[in-house]
Symmetry: C2
Subunit: 334 residues, 2 copies
């Protein structure tokens, strides 16, 4: 059994979910991937707070101690540009595989970070950065080879969708629904990135880089949030047989690509209109494959931790000292 | 630019689609993967028939000439157990990466073939074997790491769904709808594998191996097809607000796994009930990620060729003499 030591940067909602999933899935991961993961170090703000499943001596609040020499994989779940950016760059320069769920960092500096990874022979996994538990990065990265992607439309922010769902179903005001989402743990105390549409814009930039092959500056995305949506507007839409969703959209106009995030009214049967509560829905159209629709939970600890762990397992395969990996499960009889 | 030579076994619907996609996507593949594919040899039944995009001197009907020494990747699209099995085994023994869409072969001999691949350090791609253009193999293979998959339910046979859709919408008999599907190119002349549910059963066995970690013998799947479905049964279901679909299902019962394929009545809002015409829909439930739903075209040349080409591009990354692959597109500015 191969042991692989992880430096975990950040132990909030998703980080905590990953720690739980590593523990709950220990046997399954050992069977399917032949590895056992160990937390070498866990970077947190407050080392005095106990974290379930993490020995206190592994905790550190010092950025310069966050990635010990024996760490083999770095998982960045801090969010935000700094210190995440500095740590990710340092890890990549050391040639370490990095797994991140940080859409803000990738949207702002993705091009540079992938170039750095390439220059240092490191891998950079980012399934957790968009779509929560929906394996959309995986799908776009390899599944649509040869296709010209015509368009992408998606509900990418679970918090906004929870708020819109509650406003529509219970006639709540935006402020009430936001408070409810915060109490339910979906929205951050500072929910501005979510409700302002910027989180969805970051995710759209990341997915567009995969789908269309170039990094659009986040500032080029036309963004409108849901702050001004009223219960009346939702009721009116419903009366017309329509639903309102915060839609992130990438459309080709000739040679140009237009990225936008805005509340949009959709027919009830539209795949995006069916996004309920924290669900994310992504609709991709390729010229040869046609329309693909992906649906799953886009927020919460479990779904995103699943996405992150998938990347961690992939990163193991890319580690030196390991033969080409083949899931042992594929060789077991029924 | 790296040139990679493909031995293509079979040039029917999907094979022809792959040839077209390779031509249409040449520039995109070069940009995204840094490779140019070339058909080293194409195995067909009838060499006298011209194939668009294939030079006649590349065609052969001789199985012993199908995989020349300079072929670097083998793509098996013959279908059926033989000669596909013999050729795939020979390729794997030579250590060649193999990409196949052959669900019958994998369902019957998957365990042996993956063991052979592993023993010879070869890769075996099979995205095209289930779900058509839906990247479900990719999702199950890596995207749900650590999760215990609780269940899987799917519409996996596009032909049956076309038939059921037409019977319901136009009140056709089964025989009429089948003839229509054959004329539209969805169903084979011998449609027994499709309408009898066996094709869906093969796909279910393949996906279950990934999801649940062991190969169930195809004979263990409880299979019922759609031959006995009447327009009246569909109309009755519709009157009750329900729709009838051929559902492939994998359910855990304690330690046991029950696989079945059968026509089932579903509420209209059920994700599987929404499968229209040749669409495939796959619903997977994991203990941590929750419910994921994947929808896309499950039949036809383009979608399956897309899936196959994705595997071919992945196989390139596993070829020797190539550095770790990073999509150049990820480093281009917006």
């Amino acid at each position: 059994m191969r042991r692989v030591r992880i430096a975990l940067l950040g132990c909030g909602t998703v980080g905590g979910g990953l720690v739980r999933l590593l523990a709950a899935g220990r046997e399954r991961i050992a069977a399917s991937h032949g590895v056992e993961f160990e937390l070498a170090r866990v970077l947190v703000r407050d080392v005095s707070r106990a974290r379930e499943g993490v020995s206190p001596e592994r905790l550190t609040s010092r950025v310069d101690e966050a990635m010990p020499d024996d760490a083999e994989i770095v998982v960045e779940l801090l969010g935000g540009l700094e210190p995440a950016g500095t740590l990710v760059r340092a890890a990549l320069r050391r040639g370490l595989p990095v797994v991140t769920a940080n859409k803000a960092l990738l949207a702002e500096h993705g091009r540079e970070l992938f170039a750095l990874a390439r220059a240092n022979g490191a891998t950079l996994g980012f399934e957790g950065s968009a779509g929560g538990g929906v394996p959309i990065v995986r799908a776009l990265r390899g599944g649509l080879a040869g296709n010209r992607i015509e368009s992408m439309e998606a509900v990418l922010n679970g918090t906004c969708n929870v708020i819109l769902t509650r406003m529509e179903q219970d006639g709540m005001s935006f402020a009430e629904a936001l408070r409810g989402a915060q109490e339910a743990g979906f929205a951050e105390a500072d929910a501005g990135l979510d409700v302002g549409g910027h989180d969805a814009a970051h995710k759209l930039v990341v997915l567009s880089a995969l789908a269309f092959g170039h990094w659009a500056p986040p500032s080029s995305v036309n963004v409108r949030g849901i702050e001004a949506v009223t219960p009346q507007a939702l009721a009116d839409a419903r009366a017309r047989g329509r639903a309102l969703r915060l839609v992130a959209s990438a459309q080709r106009w000739g040679a140009a690509l237009e990225l936008s995030v805005a509340p949009r009214e959709l027919p009830r049967e539209h795949p995006l209109a069916r996004a309920a509560m924290e669900q994310n829905v992504i609709v991709v159209r390729g010229d040869t494959v046609g329309e693909l629709v992906f649906t799953g939970r886009g927020a919460g600890a479990g779904p995103t931790a699943t996405a992150v762990l998938g990347d961690v397992c992939d990163a193991v395969a890319a580690l030196p000292r390991l033969e080409a990996w083949m899931p042992p499960a594929m060789m077991r009889a029924g």
